[in-house]
């Protein structure tokens, strides 16, 4: 029993940072598990270095992991950490800037050698000079203590031992926040079952860190973060990539359509390819195509063949798929194109987030080629977004663009598992009856028949040339082109009647509406709650999942507020659409720095617009 003071906290943001080789991502995910078991709500965000494996100790080689956990439900990985664990000078110099004033800095003292200080670009040692005076600094010789803690273990060299210092850090922080230790201990035992020395070294390091917290004078306080009340159910931690993949697989199971996923690697979309390629057992076929044009065409070919065709990429790859998406529009075949947006223009900042591909998704093809655009809002909701994209594609025989982004792809949060048996079925409704079959004859949704090769008597030919209504034969008739162009637009517009109305959360009749789309969801919701609670502000919030067509009631909603604020991770793309559709003077808050929108950002924008 420690004699230290125990303080209650209702939310904490911890950031672990070290060299790419220091295993910070592992520490992060272990701490996340402990926290999940502790029953807190949480959100995490890994922050990988842009370079594959930058020279050790350099600033661009720093790898970090941030976790936000609380005794009530939270929505983002947090704006500014309260605690920074820095394993070396590079980690400190690159991360300390985002730390809250007065925050806690825990450094691995052993990492602060002159050599490392120089590599990080420090003139003088920040642990000695006053550069950290705004923070609470704790210097812990993690490496040496880890080495000492493991020296009696057979078959472990000092070098191996030093490698375990990340578990020392984990142990220390676990103690600080009263995390359960079993999850980590069990994990280590499973993971290194066949390498006893390594197992023991890691366990020793973990315990050493934990005990150091308990015993050393250094840390006088530790904290308690009570479990967060959460709706009953089974939970797991997922990032947007995992849940998007599971959503696609679920759609495949519920539609009976085999999933065909063709893609060309690109950060951050590649992870989706990696994840799906492991799911052979669901009949998922993944193909790494020679380029994005091929990937899109392969998917379109598979769609014609009767499979659930999906292709995914990020910004630059979307440019290359444009022509093929246009062909899919003309062929009216079901297909899902996923754009995991990243910071542009051009190659831009491949590992940073942004949501600046909206207008491209809407208009980035020559000619009039309308299609539905859906966007996911949280890591867990990517699952639903994927299913919705598939539903629309299949029902309306159209390519659908699904927008995600780097932040959603990498960030994780507890996800309440849906009851899969309750997921709606998706009916491919393949055409089979030759009598009266016409390739471009439409059902009441204006959707044409999906007649796949091999079906007796339904032989037909489709292509990108304008087609005669009903027969689908090539036609250059002016009236027909006019008719078909409007028909293609009408078919997509009809979907507005088939998507949920925009729900507004407006407990106390606000004058200001904050409307968002995509991954700004957490920040916007959080900002609304906090400004209501902390500043007694009246503010309404709503979030769009369907960017095209827009929900049928949105015009009404927009007009019913004095002011509408639209925060976006671009230069105001949704605002352009809303203003033009509804002539409502929506206001933009734009952020294009490659980072997600912070709750604080939105709070400030709200407060600027309401008199409290």
């Amino acid at each position: 029993m420690s004699d230290k003071t125990l303080e209650k906290k209702d939310r904490v943001v911890v950031r672990f940072a070290g060299d790419s080789g220091d295993g910070m991502q592992l520490v992060g995910s272990r701490f996340t598990d402990e926290t999940a078991v502790a029953g807190n709500d949480l959100a995490t965000l890994p922050d990988f270095p842009a370079e594959i494996r930058a020279p050790a100790g350099t600033p661009h080689g720093v790898s970090a992991f941030q976790i936000h956990f609380a005794s009530r439900d939270i929505l983002t990985p947090g704006d500014h950490p309260n605690v920074l664990v820095a394993m070396n000078p590079a980690a400190l110099i690159t991360q300390v800037g985002s730390l809250e004033r007065g925050g806690t800095v825990i450094v691995n003292e052993d990492g602060f050698t002159d050599h490392n200080l120089k590599k990080a670009g420090y003139e003088s040692n920040p642990l000695e000079d006053d550069s950290l005076e705004d923070f609470q600094l704790f210097r812990v010789p993690m490496t040496s203590m880890t080495v000492r803690a493991t020296e009696d273990i057979e078959g472990i060299t000092a070098r191996d031992a030093a490698r375990c210092k990340n578990l020392f850090a984990l142990g220390l922080v676990s103690w600080m926040y009263g995390r359960p230790t079993d999850p980590t201990i069990n994990w280590v035992e499973k993971k290194f079952a066949d390498k006893p020395p390594v197992r023991d070294a890691n366990l020793a390091a973990f315990r050493a860190g934990y005990n150091f917290g308990e015993t050393a004078e250094l840390l006088a306080v530790h904290y308690e973060v009570e479990p967060a009340p959460a709706p009953p159910g089974t939970y797991r931690n997922v990032n947007g990539t995992q849940s998007l993949a599971m959503g696609l697989i679920a759609a495949s199971v519920k539609s009976g359509l085999q999933l065909f996923y063709a893609s060309y690697p690109i950060t951050p979309a590649s992870e989706l390819l990696h994840t799906l390629s492991r799911n052979k057992r669901f009949g998922v076929r993944t193909i790494q195509a020679e380029d994005e044009l091929a990937a899109a065409n392969m998917a379109l070919g598979a769609a014609f063949g009767g499979q659930l065709a999906v292709t995914a990429t990020s910004g630059p790859g979307m440019d290359l798929k444009a022509e093929t998406i246009g062909l899919a529009v003309a062929m009216e075949l079901p297909m899902v194109i996923i754009d995991v947006q990243r910071a542009g223009p051009s190659t831009g900042m491949p590992t940073k987030t942004e949501a600046a591909d909206l207008l491209m998704a809407l208009y980035g093809r020559h000619g009039e080629s309308p299609l539905p655009v859906v966007a996911s809002r949280t890591p867990g909701q990517c699952f639903d977004a994927a299913i919705e994209a598939v539903r629309l594609a299949v029902k309306y025989r159209t390519p659908v663009i699904l927008l995600s982004d780097t932040f959603l792809a990498n960030s994780s949060e507890p996800w309440r598992l849906p009851d899969v048996s309750k997921l709606p079925d998706i009916d491919p409704g393949f055409a089979t009856d030759p009598s009266g079959f016409e390739p471009y004859k439409r059902d009441r949704n204006l959707a044409r028949p999906w007649a796949i090769p091999g079906t007796p008597g339904l032989r037909h030919r489709i292509g990108g040339l304008e087609k005669e209504d009903v027969t689908g034969n090539i036609s250059y008739e002016p009236e027909n082109h006019e008719h078909m162009t409007r028909l293609r637009a009408e078919r997509i517009a009809l979907i507005a009647g088939d998507v949920p109305e925009l729900e507004v959360d407006d407990p106390d009749g606000a004058d200001l509406l904050v409307l968002g789309w995509g991954s700004s969801y957490g920040a916007i919701q959080g900002a609304a709650r906090r400004t209501r609670r902390e500043n007694g502000v009246n503010v309404a919030v709503a979030h769009l999942s369907h960017l095209h067509p827009l929900p049928s009631n949105i015009g009404e909603v927009l007009r019913s507020y004095d002011r509408v604020l639209v925060p976006e991770m671009n230069m105001g793309q949704l605002v352009k659409v809303l203003r033009s559709e509804f002539l409502v003077d929506c206001e933009s808050y734009t952020k294009v720095d490659g980072l997600p929108i912070f709750t604080r950002d939105v709070m400030d924008e709200i407060l600027r617009r309401v008199d409290t």
Partner: protein, 345 residues
Amino acid sequence: MSGNGANGGDVLNLTKADFSSDQETRWCPGCGDYAVLASVQGFMPELGISPDKIVFVTGIGCAGRFAYYMDTYGMHGIHGRAPALATGVATARPDLSVWVVTGDGDSLSIGGNHLIHSLRRNVPLKILLFNNQIYGLTKGQYSPTSEEGKVTKSTPFGSQDHPFNPVALALGAEASFVARTVDTDKKHVAGVLRAAAAHQGSAFIEIYQNCNVFNDGAFDAVRAKGQKELNQIRLEHGEPIRFGPEGERGVVRGDDGQLELAEVADVGEEALVVHNAHRPDPGLAFELAQLAQRPTGPTPIGVFRDVGRPVYGEGWQEQLEDAHSQAGIEDLEKLLHSGDTWTVS
């Protein structure tokens, strides 16, 4: 027969008419495309595959119109992407017989990348490249197979481009089946189609096709009466390579190891190189392709290479289909619950 969707040997007594769509052909009168269309429609019944299980995928160009004239399933894609589009169809549906029809601009200029990759992967596609050494549909610009110095609408002072030799390019791209034929040589076309259909995996066929409007006579040396008899070097697997009206000329290997043409009388039968289309390495096929950089003199036609190697996706689809059909709600349940979960009650 995986990879080309044949229903074994069962006879469907199909006729040419069963493969002719009701769409009016719109090529220029006299275009070589008509001859090829007739040959293909005439050959199809031999496959013993119902037209319902055949897909023609084409690109953009005069050749691309082909899809509309076949009474099968068809996709008329965008310019240059037919091999990729067809890869999607063939990979998703190995039960189908998938054919690609493309032009020299479509598959060698804008579509070069997809062509070489589909050949490298050995995707089960029969690719018919209608090479007329010109851009027909866009009214007469030079193509990647046009001769150097060619004067066209886009090159009034003559083109500066050195052309591809499609057969050599395909061989360099690891193609497992490579052949060449001539649009109007009905019999020869049929023979090559037959061999291609029998081949597992990608089959690449260059068809010399006369564009009588923008590049008339480009292939006279191997196409015109009186010349073709002299210049067609017809490759037959296992046969000594000889040609000429009386087979009086042949192909021999010179002292420096390089292939040369010779009078059989001078060198003797036994000196002739015996064609081996099944040789695992493409060396010989490539050397043969070099005998005529362009079809202006003696030029090999027929099957250059026909070797077996794993077919792209072979066996996979079957496995995946099983997996998919067995994967149900429970498995989905399991998938979602994989990883660390916890329950709040």
